[in-house]
């Protein structure tokens, strides 16, 4: 109860649903911890691009003398050396979700599993769809993690005879997804399923499908477990058979473990991978956070 600690948290800005959720969980856990541990102080910075994130981290070190840094790298490569620099100053580093380009910098690594995310979804498609069925895929904002997901997905449906009619970027954005799906629908007369890869996009996709009156024809798998979507899965919506988790709450885990490491002697270093699970109507309840914005 003697020493005071400052923990810096750097995460991407809430530019789409998932990050919104992540921001929410980050702030929630910070409030919780500040309440329980008066000697803890938090600096939260959200940034719209890698450069800004580096600025934020520099500022935390230079002006807020942080004792620990929890960072969700906007991109792995550009943040590697800056975070390394932080580490070299003897500051505890927790990396969340996106690993740095050079292994072994961070003390603690908490991450969702992008490859797993894509694979799990792919496996579900492979096992549910028949040979020769057609699907379309909506991709996110062009980034490494989007590539990882899509590659894993493609690998998983490899050889299942499912043919991917088209892949376009919906940028994890409802409106873009809506437009793209509308065009898919006018382009292809036979679509059996859609991998929307993100629940924000799923919302747009579902809207486009119902507008075209083809709801019976195809089902949609989104991702990351947005509350509205989970709700519909709980209610057994035939269009939304399952969902794949990519828990935005991982940031909370990371922050809490870091805090724990500082205030208590508990050894917390290591790697914690939070695998992606399939949400089904049966298990949906335990993924449902009604008051999260996501």
């Amino acid at each position: 109860q003697d020493a005071n600690y400052t923990i810096g948290v750097a995460i991407p800005a809430a530019t789409h649903g998932f990050m919104g959720g992540l921001n929410y969980h980050a702030r929630a856990s910070i409030e919780r911890l500040e309440a329980t541990y008066p000697q803890l102080d938090f600096v939260l910075a959200t940034s719209g691009d890698a450069g800004k994130m580096v600025n934020d981290i520099e500022d935390m070190v230079a002006t807020r003398n942080i004792d620990a840094l929890v960072v969700l790298p906007f991109e792995s490569e550009p943040l590697t050396s800056p975070v390394q620099a932080v580490k070299e100053q003897g500051i505890w580093v927790t990396v969340v979700d996106r690993g740095l380009a050079v292994p072994g910098i961070e003390d603690l690594y908490v991450a969702g599993d992008n490859t797993g995310f894509g694979r799990t979804a792919g496996e579900y498609f492979a096992k549910t769809l028949k040979d020769g069925d057609n699907i379309v895929v909506l991709r996110g904002i062009p980034t490494t993690l989007d590539n990882e997901r899509v590659d894993a997905f493609s690998a998983a449906i490899e050889g299942s005879g499912i043919n991917v009619l088209d892949m376009q970027h919906g940028n994890w954005n409802r409106d873009d997804a809506f437009d793209v799906m509308q065009d898919f629908l006018s382009k292809f007369d036979d679509i059996d399923a859609v991998w929307a890869a993100d629940d924000d996009m799923a919302v747009g996709v579902l809207e486009a499908i119902s507008q075209a009156g083809r709801s019976e024809e195809m089902w949609v798998v989104g991702g990351a477990g947005m509350k509205e979507i989970i709700k519909r899965i709980m209610d057994g919506d035939p269009q939304l058979p399952v969902n794949v988790t990519y828990p935005p709450a991982q940031i909370a885990t990371a922050i809490e473990m870091t805090a724990l490491g500082l205030v208590s002697a508990t050894p917390v270093s290591g790697r914690f991978i939070i695998g992606s699970q399939v949400i089904t109507p049966e298990n949906a309840e335990k993924f449902y956070f009604p008051d999260s914005p996501f």
């Binding site: 800005a13 809430a14 530019t15 789409h16 649903g17 990050m19 919104g20 959720g21 921001n23 929410y24 991709r139 062009p142 088209d166 892949m167 376009q168 970027h169 954005n173 409802r174 409106d175 809506f178 437009d179 793209v180 509308q182 065009d183 898919f184 629908l185 006018s186 382009k187 924000d200 919302v203 747009g204 809207e207 507008q211 075209a212 509205e228 999260s292 914005p293 996501f294």
Partner: protein, 329 residues
């Protein structure tokens, strides 16, 4: 403008037809690439999508013609949508789900748009700050306000309210959906206002030479302010069409709409420095822009990564076509 002034009749034609040609070319291209392109479904989709940007771009035409610019429309739209959704959700207990609720929501949207436009207009016309700076500022302000209101996530309209409101985007009369009808109405009124009313004349005069406008007994400040207020209200109107589509608003709503709207205006032949505006051109500009996206999706010719590049090239080409006449000079 001086260039425009010089372009002699013959050249002027090409200058006028430029955007039209580009549009036709795109339509032919689309039709050749995909048989469904000219199908009822796709045409409706494209037109309905164009409505938001389109309605806004018509307002932008007046702002630019009067020598101004507004970078804030995109985030303004997101903000207005957010406010509208919050208001409607809050009003459900009182009004219940029904026409009154929708009307109330629309009222809120228009009012919010009006106020937002008024703010911009006031700072620009009365306090005399560069329009670019004012609207760059308000762009940031509205964007972060909506993110804040939505707590970084998404504001969604109550489910019943939404299902009740939905038809405003998806239905229409005689198979023409409402957004298209509203867009058409706004475009026609805009064209009339620009070409046949003192307001349009005065906007052009103001953009061409503020001094002359002043000496011609035009209330310059009020006029300039008027253009921004008009734009604000039209943003509100666009929002009214937008919200029923997905029933939600978030920090990522309407990102880059401002650039699209301005691009549409310029492609349409309005002069960026002001003094000459053409509403019908703007409409064509909007259609060109949304057709590009549509075609790129319909015919996945190239790596989707390159879509942006193709867009850029086409936009430039569309304007080259139009400028041909002038470049000769």
């Amino acid at each position: 403008m001086s260039k425009l002034a010089k372009s002699s009749p013959r050249k002027f034609n090409l200058h006028v037809l430029g955007p039209l040609l580009a549009l036709v070319a795109l339509i032919l291209l689309g039709a050749s690439l995909n048989s469904n392109f000219l199908g009822y479904g796709n045409v409706t989709n494209v037109l309905a999508r164009s409505a938001f940007i389109g309605i806004i771009a018509v307002g932008m035409t007046f702002v630019i013609t009067a020598g101004g610019i507004d970078l804030s429309v995109g985030s303004m739209a997101a903000f207005v949508a957010g406010v509208m959704i919050l208001a409607m959700n809050a009003l459900i207990p009182i009004l219940g789900v029904g026409v009154p609720l929708i009307v109330a929501g629309m009222g809120v949207a228009l009012l919010a748009g009006f106020l937002a436009g008024f703010m911009n207009g006031f700072l620009i016309a009365k306090i005399r700050i560069e329009a670019f700076i004012v609207t760059l500022g308000s762009m940031g302000i509205y964007r972060s306000l909506i993110t804040w209101l939505s707590d970084g996530g998404t504001l969604s309209l109550n489910f019943e309210a939404r299902s009740f409101y939905r038809p405003v985007y998806y239905d229409g009369i005689w198979g023409v959906s409402w957004p298209i009808i509203v867009f058409a109405a706004v475009a026609i009124l805009g064209e009339l206002a620009m070409r046949h009313t003192p307001f349009g004349r005065h906007c052009a005069a103001l953009g061409a030479n503020e001094q002359v406008a002043k000496y011609s007994a035009i209330k310059v400040d009020r006029l300039r302010m008027g253009t921004y207020v008009l734009l604000g209200v039209l943003v509100g109107l666009a929002t009214i069409m937008y919200v029923p589509r997905l029933g939600s608003a978030s920090g990522s709503t309407g990102v880059l709409w401002e650039l699209e709207a301005i691009a549409a205006v310029i492609i349409g032949g309005t002069v960026l420095k002001g003094g000459f505006g053409r509403v019908w051109g703007t409409v064509i500009g909007v259609l060109i822009l949304s057709l590009i996206d549509n075609i790129l999706n319909l015919a996945s010719i190239v790596s989707p990564y390159l879509n942006g590049a193709i867009q850029g090239v086409i936009v430039i080409l569309a304007v080259v076509l139009q400028r041909e006449g002038k470049s000769a000079k």
